[in-house]
Amino acid sequence: MTRTLAGADVARRINTDLPGAVVRSSGGDVWVELASITNVAEFLRDTEGLEFSFLSSITAVDYVEYFELVYHLTSLTRNQSIVLKAHCYGRDDLSAPSVCGVWRGADFQEREVWDLFGIRFDGHPNLKRILLWEGFPGHPLRKDFLGQDP
């Protein structure tokens, strides 16, 4: 069985190495500061006992007041998992640090989040729309996207 690590334990470990990075934790989730997401990602990947070398998925949720970025991480060597979350405030010119340098599997998934939610990823090597074409008006998975009549 894949063990879901307690968010509080992981939060404590992150806090000893990266003070101030964790916002809160509950269940198997850890909320971190958006600015420190790359450092936290690197820490989770490289620390012995955590070893989250496999990034299952990246996605975002539009909660209208803010966007929540959700990272599902799995450790194949330890068979354990954790969910990393970060809030991104505002509606226009949003940006978040890219984790492409930590897990190369983030490449297409970050492009998808940019395409459908309009969150830019700083440091992404090739941040272009992926499912829709360049010049498409708006970002469809936002709650205020109404679409258009054909």
Binding site: T2, S56, D62, V70, L76, R104, G105, L131, L132
Partner: protein, 367 residues
């Protein structure tokens, strides 16, 4: 005298038989050698995730059919498991067995397609593909008995399956399971030792284990790279923990390994189904669920080992009758992330089979 040469950019697709759907590769060649690749996708983007936000939890099952249309059962399973997780629904044991049987049948069907089309790409035009289609047809017949449909099945529901198996299903399944090993032997005699296949696939399109994990690769492609990771073993869902089966892994992570891992997985699937036939209990096939499922506020992620890899659904509920957000972790989409690195330096003819061996379905890539 020096001859002036320059790189040539070719559009492979969107309509090209080797892309298995509508997918475009902008490939730059220096002579015959690939120097740059840019995948262009989205031709089949239907906005399934957005559509899901306006449908009830049960209605979304039909949307999942149309993602990986080669393996609808696995999509159904991944989705209903996410709903059951977020809404806390217990599934009757008989339904779990039926689900595992149908998911494994679907795995065989999907791997048959992958193998057939790989051979097609290799230039063995149509003959091996038709052998594979012949067996897949029998699986579709079984599905037709279960739910009346052959491709877009929508057989599973949150809480179980939508109807019990008809009496003629079990003898037909027994017969299929009895014959299938011989068919796989036949297929292997045709392909596995074939010298042309070996020369074309051995050592071609390498992806090692460290890179595969870093690129979030899952499924047969990850196992071909030598990583023993299968969600059915690592995080057993349904009744997989009661079953005895092995995880085949490859040694090199080349095109041939990806082919042979799929062949071996088909054999393991037959083992699984055989154990399930004897163990399926009688009883209810669906839990009592309200007409409109209203999960409590919160989120849940559930993943299954689909034929293509880790297929996960991330659902966010606001307490209403449709999900606030429904994200699909599509293995086909993520498995093509390293395509550029895998193709650089190979030739045009290798491109087709390396790409074919990844086994993607565009319905799932684009959603």
């Amino acid at each position: 005298m020096t001859v002036k040469t320059e790189p040539v950019t070719i559009n492979l697709g969107p309509q090209h038989p080797s892309t298995h759907g509508v997918f475009r590769l902008r490939v730059t060649f220096d002579g015959e050698v690939i120097v740059d690749v840019e995948p262009v996708l989205g031709y089949l983007h239907r906005g399934s995730e957005k559509l899901a936000e306006g449908r009830t939890y049960v209605q979304i099952v039909t949307l999942t059919d149309r993602m990986d249309y080669i393996a609808s059962m696995s999509n159904n399973l991944a989705y209903v498991r996410a709903v059951e997780k977020i809404a806390g629904i217990e599934v009757p044991e008989r339904a779990q067995y039926i689900r595992v049987i149908s998911a494994e049948l679907q795995r065989i069907a999907s791997h048959l397609m992958a193998t057939g089309f790989l051979l097609n790409d290799l230039g063995a035009l149509a003959t091996p593909l038709m052998y594979c289609f012949r067996e897949r047809e029998r699986i579709l017949d079984l599905f037709e008995m279960l739910c009346g449909a052959r491709i877009t099945l929508s057989y599973m529901r949150p809480g179980g399956v939508f109807q019990d198996t008809p009496p003629e299903f079990w003898p037909a399944l027994e017969e299929f399971i009895g014959n299938m090993p011989t068919y796989i032997d036949e297929l292997e005699r045709l392909i596995s030792g074939n010298e042309i296949v070996l020369t074309r696939t051995r050592g071609v399109g390498l992806l090692n284990d460290v890179d595969a994990v870093d690129y979030s690769i899952s499924g047969p492609m990850l196992r071909a790279a030598g990583v023993e990771w299968d969600l059915r073993k690592a995080d057993p869902y349904e009744i997989y923990d009661r079953l005895d089966f092995d995880i085949p892994i490859g040694a090199l992570g080349d095109t041939f390994d990806r082919y042979i891992v799929r062949i071996q997985e088909m054999r393991e699937s037959i083992r699984i189904i055989r154990q399930c036939i004897d163990a399926t209990p009688s009883g209810p096939i669906r839990a009592e669920t309200p007409f409109f499922i209203r999960p409590p506020e919160g989120d849940a992620y559930a993943a299954v080992e689909s034929p293509k890899g880790e297929l996960g659904f991330y659902l966010v509920s606001d307490g209403g009758i449709s999900p606030y957000r429904c994200h699909v972790r599509a293995p086909s989409f993520i498995n093509i992330t390293p395509l550029r690195e895998m193709l650089l330096g190979w030739k045009m003819s290798d491109l087709i089979i390396i790409f074919g061996s990844i086994d993607i379905v565009l319905g799932e890539v684009d959603r």
